[in-house]
């Protein structure tokens, strides 16, 4: 693999795992690192030092402070008090015609709270701010997928420019206000609970701790960007992937009708979508030492490919119908309905419950404090507006990446403009939708 005329890294071997249990074992192996590019790629690495590719002690130290922003009480606050109003206001404003491109709407829905959690300075009601953030997220997403990029050098340049814009427009203003508040805390004028609850704040509050390796301002910016991107991209892609899977079915209208009245079913649709359409279909690791996974010897400096998309369809775990979209499938209690799509082990996605909610109880009865996940609420909201395929415009995949589950445009129609009793549009039968590319 070459970039900037330099060799990123060479591998002693490449070993692929495609069975669920083997992939899970690999994800827990401390010798398999996400820090692939230590030797030739540190300098100028667009993802240098971020938590996603940190390993060992620094990764643990970061996660301990960052995970505080994903506690159950915070998730409930977001899901029950903040998100419904924000979501419906945005949808009412954005679904202003019978036919729209749903993918950017999903991004706007997701970024509004992801930006709050990340801790950037923005105006939640400003579509200009939200659209700028979404544009930056798109750049960061390409950076996150750089190992699968078709033009890595172009991606690298794009991401560097995006970091600069992100820092100046959104991070620095927030940095100043948070620094002032942290100074007040240290003078005893306010309590820690009075500080903003977001990633930037905890990074600034703790950055003097050497174990966090956050002395570099740019690394703080990249870390905040990581959470903004992570909180936006998967959710937006999953919303349209869920609809795409539903629209393929002969009983699509009935499925959507169930979604409108059963939030736990909507959540199962989302988790089943994540299983079949993982936003990251394959992950890669580098062996930092000789190790063995599932009886396979892995030499130091080998590249290990973890085929999540295949593992999520492992019949030994998901049964003979593993390839089918079945939100009602029964699974063993120790198997996540989303399969391996959020990873496992130390790098398991910290925000998985934000988008996908808590694990669905085996008896399909949710407790009062259950968290359904924001994407289930989004799916329910668009279902209640009568979402259906656009018969004239086919969705468009994101061809900048080899990751097959990513979309750029997803055109849909709506029967109603409001969520409940809103203006009813001229009714059109489902009819034949435009030709959609079939995903495996």
């Amino acid at each position: 693999m070459m970039t900037d005329g330099r060799l990123l890294t060479t591998y002693a071997a490449t070993i692929t795992f495609d069975r669920y249990e083997d992939i899970r074992a690999a994800l827990f192996d401390p010798n398999l690192s996400r820090t692939f590019d230590k030797r030739g790629y540190d300098e100028g690495n667009i993802r240098d030092g971020i938590v996603s590719i940190a390993h060992g002690a620094v990764h643990r130290a970061r996660r301990r402070i960052e995970n505080t922003q994903f506690r159950a009480d915070v998730l409930r606050l977001y899901e029950r008090e903040l998100f419904p109003d924000v979501m419906n206001e945005l949808l009412d404003g954005l679904i202003d015609t019978e036919r729209v491109d749903l993918f950017p709407i999903g991004e706007l829905l997701s970024v509004v709270l992801a930006a709050r959690r990340a801790g950037v300075e923005y105006e939640p009601s400003s579509l200009d701010d939200l659209r700028t953030l979404v544009r930056l997220v798109d750049a960061f997403s390409q950076g996150a997928a750089i190992l699968d990029a078709k033009d890595p050098d172009a991606v690298r340049a794009l991401v560097r420019a995006a970091y600069e814009e992100f820092e100046q427009k959104f991070v620095r203003p927030a940095w100043r206000t948070r620094s002032e508040q942290i100074a007040r805390l240290r003078r005893g004028e306010i309590a820690e609970d009075d500080l903003p609850h977001d990633i930037l704040t905890v990074l600034l509050l703790h950055r003097e701790e050497p174990s966090l390796e956050l002395a570099d301002d740019k690394r703080v910016v990249r870390e905040v960007a990581t959470y903004l991107q992570g909180g936006t991209h998967t959710s937006a892609q999953t919303l349209v992937n869920a609809l795409d899977l539903i629209f393929e079915r002969a009983d699509a209208a009935a499925v959507l009708e169930r979604v409108t009245v059963d939030t736990l079913f909507s959540q199962r649709v989302i988790q089943e979508t994540l299983r079949l359409r993982p936003t990251t279909p394959k992950a890669k690791r580098r062996a930092e030492a000789d190790t063995e996974v599932a009886g396979v010897r892995i030499p130091k400096d080998a590249q290990v490919v973890l085929d999540f998309a295949a593992g999520n369809r492992d019949r030994a775990v998901f049964g003979a119908t593993a390839d089918e979209f079945d939100p009602d499938r029964q699974l063993p209690p120790n198997v996540s309905r989303w399969g391996l799509s959020f990873g496992a082990g130390p790098h398991q996605c910290p925000g998985r419950a934000v988008g996908a909610g808590f694990p669905v109880p085996a008896d399909f009865h949710a407790a009062d404090d259950h968290v359904y996940g924001l994407v289930a609420l989004e799916l329910q909201a668009v279902a209640r507006r009568g979402v259906r395929p656009d018969p004239d415009r086919a969705p468009e995949r994101d061809l900048r990446t080899a990751r097959f589950t990513r979309w750029l445009h997803y055109y849909v129609g709506f029967e109603r403009l409001g969520s409940d009793g809103g203006q009813r549009l001229e009714h059109r039968p489902w009819g034949e939708s435009a030709q959609r590319e079939h995903h495996p």
């Binding site: 301990r64 995970n67 505080t68 994903f70 159950a72 120790n334 496992a344």
Partner: protein, 73 residues
Amino acid sequence: MGAERSASRLRVDPELCIGTGDCWRLAPDAFELDEARGVSVPRPGAESADPDVLAEAAFNCPTRAITVSDRAE
């Protein structure tokens, strides 16, 4: 760092734990958060929790910080 607390069958390694909260969400009677350290610790009386639930918490712990052992061990 505060003192490590462990029940007779249950241990959370504070060096490995990253405070995801998966264990206390799954078994709130058996685990709680040590806010100062950002890590999970066994609650007093955790030894009486359902062993299957404890085993599930250990299985799901992303850093394998939880170990459950027989009292006799």
